[in-house]
């Protein structure tokens, strides 16, 4: 991952297939120290000009589905805008601190999700024929879609690709640390035959991204609690905030179960919104937390480029910020990682990056406010749960992993509106096939049914 000898990398907004160099520049720092890239950012007026142009071309027609399978292939294997697949992986690793194996997995997942778009669509829409002359057509709910992305992981970029698939024209605000994934996806799509006038790539501030969301017909926003707070009430915007994925451990905690929980928390360095962040248990809290801390403590401290690496690295500034934030929590709660010999949240690596060690803490009640704390690395709070606590402590979960035989509780969890997906047994939280919603029916968020009746 040496870039010292390379020319400085530079990336600018792209509108309708053209590069639009901006005189407003911002440096994208590398986790190894220094700057990785020089990014041209779009102020509001550039974004408005792009929006006007994109809207002018928006006709609501879906591109040929073959574009998406070919784009998936190119995304994985082609050199696009001078960027080889390995360049792409290196850049995302250095910018986000994800391990190269996590980014490699993300490429495979994105390819699969793009190839599955027709299957996903079929699975998420009901049948449309209602007898001779009676049809329902599923059409886009608008013409222009805006996506405000985060940088925690490349795979969420599938959300705006899906909007393109259904016929929207799309404006993408990339995450500030990962402009590379949307830029490469867009390059692959255009190379595969997507009309360039279908999309704009606009690195910009959060404020400009929110301006695009307000102006677009439909949109999606990813981010932390504060970033997404004002968007919950807006019907035209899908909100992807903190996942607060939880597990209820109500079976004997054998090694297989503990390994499952450790993997749920630490896969991809704990960066997914579906990574486990809380365990509620009917068993002995201290023992469960100690065993989880011990397992997570075995994960090696390796540079992100190492094939054996699993944990996230960050740059010096972000490390300092996270260390301080976590220190408050470690001091206030029972610190099982410290008991397992892990005093430090942050470890400085030889390549200049800072690795975030897993942290397991416990609290003494299911209603403790620390439950639901979501941090961008393996961070788990363990709490007691008893039947008297009911479903309340399990609320606000993107995924709820129920390791229990209590059928009543499974039913109650499924009926709880703030629980978005339920898994049972040793199932990793993100496990799905087309038709299993991540968070509601996203195809129907993009499309609406219209009656088409033709007689005589």
């Amino acid at each position: 991952m040496s870039t010292a000898t390379r020319a400085p990398l530079s990336l600018d907004p792209r509108v309708c297939g053209r590069s639009v160099p901006s005189s407003d520049r911002t440096a994208l720092p590398s986790v190894l120290g220094g700057d990785l890239a020089d990014i041209g950012t779009a102020p509001r007026l550039l974004a408005l000009a792009a929006l006007n142009e994109i809207r002018g071309h928006a006709d609501g027609r879906a591109p040929d589905p073959a574009v998406f399978t070919e784009a998936a292939r190119l995304f994985a294997v082609a050199t696009l805008d001078g960027e080889s697949p390995q360049d792409y992986v290196d850049r995302v690793c250095q910018a986000t601190g994800l391990t190269s194996s996590a980014v490699g997995q993300a490429v495979r997942d994105l390819v699969e999700e793009m190839e599955e778009l027709p299957a996903t669509t079929a699975a998420e829409l009901p049948a449309t024929g209602f007898g001779e002359g009676f049809d329902t057509r599923w059409v886009p709910r608008g013409k222009v879609f805006a996506a405000v992305m985060a940088s925690n992981h490349p795979v969420p970029n599938i959300s705006w690709v899906q909007a393109l698939f259904h016929g929207y024209n799309v404006l993408v605000k990339p995450g500030s640390r990962d402009p590379f994934t949307p830029a490469r996806l867009l390059a692959a799509l255009v190379a595969a035959g997507l009309p360039p006038t279908k999309a704009a790539f606009l690195p910009c501030s959060r404020e400009v991204g929110e301006f695009l969301l307000r102006e677009a017909d439909r949109g999606i926003i990813y981010g932390g609690e504060k970033a997404v707070a004002t968007w919950h009430q807006r019907e035209s915007v899908a909100v992807r905030g903190p996942g607060r994925t939880k597990a209820l451990l109500d079976v004997p905690a054998d090694d297989a179960v503990m390994d499952h929980l450790a993997l749920s928390a630490s896969f991809d360095g704990g960066t997914r919104c579906t990574n486990l962040s809380a365990v509620l248990t009917t068993g002995p809290v201290g023992e469960v937390a100690d065993r989880l801390a011990e397992r997570l403590g075995r994960l090696p401290s390796l540079p992100a480029s190492d094939e054996g690496a699993t944990l996230l690295v960050v740059n010096r500034a972000r490390a300092a910020q996270l260390r301080e934030q976590v220190a408050v929590l470690r001091a206030a709660l029972t610190d099982h990682s410290a008991r397992a010999g892990e005093e430090e949240t942050v470890v400085e690596l030889e390549d200049g990056s800072f690795l975030l060690r897993p942290v397991v803490l416990s609290v003494d009640s299911a209603g403790h406010p620390a439950l639901g704390t979501e941090l961008p690395f393996p961070f788990v709070v363990v709490a007691p749960w008893s039947e008297a606590d009911g479903v309340a402590p399990l609320r606000d979960s993107l995924v709820l992993n129920l390791l229990t035989d209590r059928e009543e509780l499974v039913e109650a969890a499924l009926r709880e509106p703030s629980v978005r997906k339920v898994t049972r047994g040793r199932v990793l939280p993100w496990t799905a096939v087309p038709g299993i919603p991540h968070d509601d029916n996203y195809t129907q968020f993009l499309l609406e049914p219209k009656g088409l009746v033709a007689q005589g």
Partner: protein, 352 residues
């Protein structure tokens, strides 16, 4: 190191020390400070660099009775009070009788040099009332024989909404302002628009109003908040390619510093210069020393006029120091931005 000699301004300073610290001519405010200064301005203040011996009195302008700011030598003249916008807490007050009128004659020449038509009617979509920009803009229109249209804008209300996180309410207020601007432009003949970067962005996002401005307005003057280089390029090249887009930096205390005419070799699209007769803007580092050309520094104001004396005032802005044009006694300022940590008061840049 890069401090230039400025004999004309130095002699102006010496003359006005006699005025502001003369028992019969000075203001109660400055005469009251005399004994506590620790130096004699009449003999010890000889040049521009000596002005930094004065304390920064800008905070006192928030509470001193404005009457006390009027020099005794001008007691027979009518004065009025103007406020700073109140970006950082309660407003600072200045007094003005004829000074701004004099400065706007010079300022108008600068605007014309940048392509603002000499005649024609003006629309001021910005603050008026206690905010001096409303007066200045009315003067520009009057000097060219133009009619002056305006819309009420209370910038403090907008800042209050934004500081409370009420962005939707702030936007509703902005749309209310734009409704009124649109009404004026629908039927009235307007040539020059004076407004702020955030309001220009809002105008561009309203198709009908944007068309009216694009097709009717020959010159757009922006002031009041900072603007990025790319935003400026978008305004002048993409949204209003046939109009002159001209910036004016300034505030109640310093007066106006309009954009100077572009010169070959300029690396900044917009370079501001203050009124050289009375005003020096220095760009200084954290130790108060002037930064080198091409470097960014915080703005330090020295205003030496008959009606007001405001030496050694550290402003809320930073800018890049630009070499003066040949024959000019003043540096240029480019890429003005808000200084980030000022006495722990959160700075809110609203629509003005």
């Amino acid at each position: 190191m890069t401090q230039m000699t400025d004999p004309g301004f130095d002699s102006h300073i010496r003359k006005l020390m006699g005025w502001h610290f003369g028992a019969d001519t000075g203001s109660p405010f400055w005469l009251g400070k005399l004994s506590g200064l620790g130096f004699d301005p009449l003999t010890e203040v000889q040049t521009l660099s000596d002005l930094t011996r004065f304390p920064d009195v800008s905070s006192e302008l928030r509470s001193v009775p404005a009457q006390d700011l009027i020099p005794a030598g001008l007691a027979d003249r009518p004065f009025r009070v103007y406020d700073s916008g109140g970006t950082t807490g309660s407003p600072k007050r200045v007094v003005d009788s004829a000074y701004r009128s004099l400065m706007t004659v010079w300022g108008r020449e600068r605007l014309l040099a940048n392509g603002v038509p000499p005649h024609g009617n003006w629309l001021h979509l910005g603050p008026s009332g206690p905010h001096v920009i409303g007066f200045d803009t009315a003067r520009y229109a009057a000097l060219g024989g133009g009619i002056f249209y305006t819309v009420d804008l209370d910038p403090r209300w907008v800042k209050r909404l934004l500081s409370q996180g009420r962005a939707a309410d702030a936007d509703e207020y902005v749309q209310h302002l734009l409704d009124q601007a649109e009404t004026i432009l629908e039927s009235q003949d307007v040539t020059v628009l004076n407004t702020t970067p955030p309001l220009l962005e809002a105008i561009c996002a309203r198709p009908r109003l944007y068309e009216l401005v694009r097709t009717r307005i020959r010159a757009i003057i922006w002031a009041g908040t900072s603007i990025s280089g790319e935003s400026l390029r978008q305004l002048s090249e993409v949204f209003f390619p046939t109009a002159s887009v001209v910036g004016v930096y300034g505030n109640s205390l310093m007066g106006v510093a309009p954009q100077r005419a572009a010169r070959p070799g300029d690396t900044h699209p917009c370079v501001f210069e203050p009124f050289p007769d009375t005003t020096r803007l220095q760009l200084v580092d954290d130790d108060g020393e002037p930064v080198a050309y091409g470097e960014r520094g915080r703005v330090r104001l020295h205003l030496v006029a008959e009606e007001m004396f405001l030496p050694n005032i550290l402003e809320r802005d930073t800018a890049v120091r630009v070499e003066p044009v040949p024959g000019s006694p003043v540096d240029g300022l480019a890429d003005v931005q808000t200084y980030r940590s000022l006495d722990d008061v959160t700075i809110i840049e609203g629509v003005y």
